[in-house]
Structures are given as C-alpha cells and as structure tokens.
Amino acid sequence: MNMTQIEQIARELRGTVIELTHQAKPAHLASALSCIDILAVLYWSVLNIDPAKPLAEDRDRFILSKGHAALALYSVLAKRGFCSNEILQTFNNNGGKLAEHPGPQCIPGVEAATGSLGHGLPIGNGLALASRLSGRNNRVFVLLSDGECNEGSVWEAAMFAGKQKLSNLCAIVDFNKWQATGRSQEILALDPLPDKWQAFGWETVRLDGHDVRKLDATLADMPRGSGKPLAIIADTIKGKGVSFMEDDNNWHYRVPTAEEVVAAKRELGLV
C-alpha cells in the first residue's frame, strides 16, 4: 500500500474517531487524533499481522500504552479487519466489549490491557525478550504518550531494554507536548526527551509524527542494526487534522457537537 493511500486511511480513521466520540461521548478525542498517522503506518505498512490469525505466534506485537487513545486503536482494528464495524459501533455502550480503555483481548488484535499509564513498555520488554528466547524474529512496538513519560516504570523499562539490548523493541513517544492539565514540559521537565532515551541506551530518532513517509521509512527497517532498542520521538499535534481542535487542550475532554462533526469531516475531505 502506498503512502498516499495510507494518508487517506488516516483521514477516514480521524472521521470515525470524531463521529464515535460525538456518539458515545468519551474523553480523549485529541489524544486519539494525535497518534492516528502512527497507527495507520504501523497497521497498513509495518506490522507483520494477519487479521485471520490474530494469535499467530510469529506476529509483530503492538501495545497502545497510552490506553486512553483506545478509540483510535478500535477504529484501526475494525478497518483492518480484526473486528466488524458493528462491534466498533458498540463502543462505550452498556454491556459492550469496547470500554474507554482496552481490556485484554477485548477484541482480536488488542495485545495488552492498558489505561493505567506506564505499563505498556515493561510488558513490551517481556514480549521482546520472549521473542528472543524463542528464536522468533517478531518485533514489538509500544506507543507511549509524552505525559506517560512522567511514570517511573517507563524509565525502569527503558533501563532494562537498554541493558538487554532488545533491538526488536521500538518505543514510539506521541510527543504532542500536552498532558491532561497542561504542557508536558511545564508539569515535569521532559526536555530533552530524545537525549533521555539515548542516555538509557536506546537508538533515538526524532521525526514528524504526522509524516507517514518518514514514519514508514524509520519503522519498516526495524531492527536497524544498531543492536539497541529504538526510541522514536514523534513530534505530533494534539487534535491533529481538525483546525479548531489542533493544539487546543480543551479537546482532551471535550465532545464535539453534531455541527462540529460536520465541520471536522469537511476539513478532512470526508463530506
């Protein structure tokens, strides 16, 4: 699949996430929008996965450690064929399988239950280590938020992966510069974020997290031969894709009105 097609998929995914947020009224719309391009590149170009065999032993693993962007993951898995659109439409309904944070195997393709921050990378370490011990070549990708990098367990995990030289492990930080109540740089001193990962023994790449070509070029050749785990610091914009949501942290919690959904879809070229 070429990158122009992936850009179109990302626009459609944004439309789905916005519509479902209007419909089911969860928080975290802007957090989901900031990581859509990363997910689109992973699921349509990078990951060795098969929706028909969601538990294949040699599959690549993806963990959405920033579990509050669950709606982005559910939308991706439905569009990629891991579950039906009917299931997706039950998001946040009473008695459904799709809660605001993903549960273990709530639908095929969800590799780990997340929601409490700082859990994905330690689990990813275990998956990457298991891959090495088993002599398999599958890769493990973990998507973290920048706010999540406040959690001490992230840095425990970073030290471990560096020491173990888990070159089949990739951590991607969705660096949108915001967390729940303010700028991530102001709440705790995150900068210099790439240097921190490097100091923990990781190969570090900083790129535009909305540039699908750069993402694809960097993610596709994992492992890259450095013998180290790879940290991608992806500069992103919270609420990306909709002008009146971009970089406005009110959309961490806000739900769009029907009129705002139409306006957003118009900007995305979906109506």
Partner: protein, 312 residues
C-alpha cells in the same frame, strides 16, 4: 525455604525451557547452579520491580512461565498495581515469589516486614495465594505453580526453618495438609508458623488437649472441605499467621464462615500480628514472643480459650 526454592527452580528450569526466573537483584550466589544449568532462564532485572512484573506478564503472554522473585514488600505492595493489571487482569500464568514472609526479616525493620501482603494479594481477581510451611512444601508449591494457568503468589519464609514433613507432600491451589491429628482443637497454621504450631500442639498435649495441625497452604482459594470437617468435629479452630489481623488468612476464614457456616463463628479464634508496625529491633524469635506468636504463647491462648491451664 529459600535454598529449597533455588534448588527446586534449578531442577524445574533444567527440565523445561518454559520457566524463567526473574530476580530483583537479590540472592547473591543463591542461583549460581540455576544459572549454570539454564543460563537463558535466569534474569537479574535489577532494582526495578515494576518493570520486572511487566516483563513477567509479557513472557507469560508468549508461552513462558515466569517466576518473579524478591523480598516480600518489594514484590507485593510496591508493585501492587502491576500485579493487578499486568498479571491478574490479563490472567496470565506468572508466579510472584516473595522471600521473607511475616517477620522473617524482623531485624531489618518495618520496611522489610511482610505483615500485609496476604491481605493485598488475596483480594485481586484471578490471583491465588500459597503459603508453604516448610522447605518440602515449597517444592510442592513450585510444582503446582508449573501446572497452574493463572497468576499465583507464593510466600516464602527465609532459610533454615525446621522441616516438618518427612517427605515431599502433594499439595496445590486450594489445598491444605493435615500434619498432625487430634480431636479437641485444630490449628490452621499459615506458612512459616507451621513449626510453632507443631510445638504448641505438643505443649497442649501435655495438658491433654488433643490438637490437629493443618498447614493452610492455600490461603486463596481456601480448602472449604477441610474447614467444614474441622469446624464440625472440634471444639475450637484457630488460625495462626505471621501477618496482620487485618485482612490475612484469619480474615479470609471469617469471610468463609460468614458465607458458608455462620454457626462456626463461636468456635473460631484468630492469632495474628496487631494492626500496627512492629518497631523493636531484634530477631524473629524475639519478635514472635513480643507479639504472642511463639509456641508457648499460642498454646497458652488456646488452653485459656478451652478453660485449661498450661504449665508455667
């Protein structure tokens, strides 16, 4: 118990590639044989216990059988959320092994005491809790862990405890072991207090109190049939644990009584540590005397309750 743990893990790892022992940077030289026999199956995860539990979860999700090992407070309460989410919510076959249960490390102070761990771990969904009473029970519990398909906590003592069993017993999740039979009362001994319970039973025998001693190996789930039998046929059933009175095995039995056998309440007595930090320095044996967990104190409490006098 600690040496039996290392030895049994060495055997298990040498025979099977699935188990992996994760250590939180303790046990200097303890695992040298394991490292020699199965070098890929031992990993020192450093003083980073939250990561260690996540690593255990990832390994277990991939078909391995991890055992995550360090001192009780650091492998339980410190990482309770990791155990809850990574192991219990995912319901993976990972075993958390804590060394230094109860007041094993009395001399190290309350940071290293383990008097609340059973309470925290037994309330987690999918979690089972085993408290082996001697080195042979440790081996049996590890064998049970290899056959169990969910998260498990094994609470060890330290090293050098008396061995109560003559040979390795068979016991698993939901099981208990009757190690002495008597018709008047039953002591349900939790983990490393089993030897104290056996000595208390001997002291009681001198006063013609005929005592059953059960090693309550599985605190969660409880052995309901064993409880039914003992409450039906004894004048008194006593839980004995080196753990806080709040939330431990005695509390679990109170819950069982309330749910299954309310009339048994009058026959039940708990012996446990108070809901307080123990702040005196000194050895475990001294701490037990101070807290009424030594065999003489236990025998005296039981004799009092039965209206007998224990010889001075």
């Amino acid at each position: 118990m600690r040496n039996a743990f290392a030895d049994e893990m060495t055997r298990i790892c040498a025979a099977n590639q699935r188990p992996v022992l994760l250590s939180g940077d303790i046990g200097n030289k303890l695992f040298d044989k394991l490292k020699a026999a199965a070098p890929d199956q031992f990993l020192n995860c450093g003083l980073a216990e939250a990561n260690m539990i996540g690593v255990a979860a990832g390994l277990a999700m991939s078909g391995f059988r991890p055992f995550a090992y360090t001192i009780v407070p650091f492998i339980t309460t410190r990482v309770l959320e990791q155990i809850r989410v990574d192991l219990c919510y995912h319901n993976v076959p990972a075993t958390v092994v804590g060394v230094g249960g109860g007041l094993s490390y009395a001399a190290l102070g309350p940071t290293h005491h383990a008097l609340e761990d059973i309470a925290f771990l037994r309330v987690l969904p999918n979690m089972s809790v085993l408290c082996p009473g001697d080195a042979l029970e440790v081996r049996a519990c590890l064998k049970a862990a290899m056959l169990h398909d969910g998260p498990l906590y094994i609470r060890l003592g330290k090293k050098g405890e008396p061995v109560v069993h003559q040979s390795e017993p068979v016991v698993g999740i939901g099981g208990s072991l009757t190690v002495r039979r008597g018709s008047d009362c039953t002591i349900l001994a939790v983990g490393n207090l089993l030897p104290e319970a056996m000595r208390a039973a001997e002291l009681l025998a001198e006063q013609k109190v005929d005592t059953t001693v059960v090693s309550l190996v599985s605190v969660k789930p409880l052995d309901g049939e064993m409880l039914e039998r003992n409450f039906a046929s004894r004048k008194l059933v006593v839980s004995l644990e080196e753990h806080s009175v709040a939330g431990g095995a005695g509390s679990a039995i109170l819950e069982w009584i309330s749910d299954h056998n309310p009339s048994a309440m009058a026959k039940f007595m708990r012996i446990a540590t108070p809901d307080a930090f123990y702040t005196q320095s000194g050895k475990q044996s001294y701490a037990r005397q101070q807290l009424g967990l030594d065999s003489i104190s236990v025998a005296r409490k039981i004799a009092d309750r039965l209206g007998r006098k224990l010889a001075a």
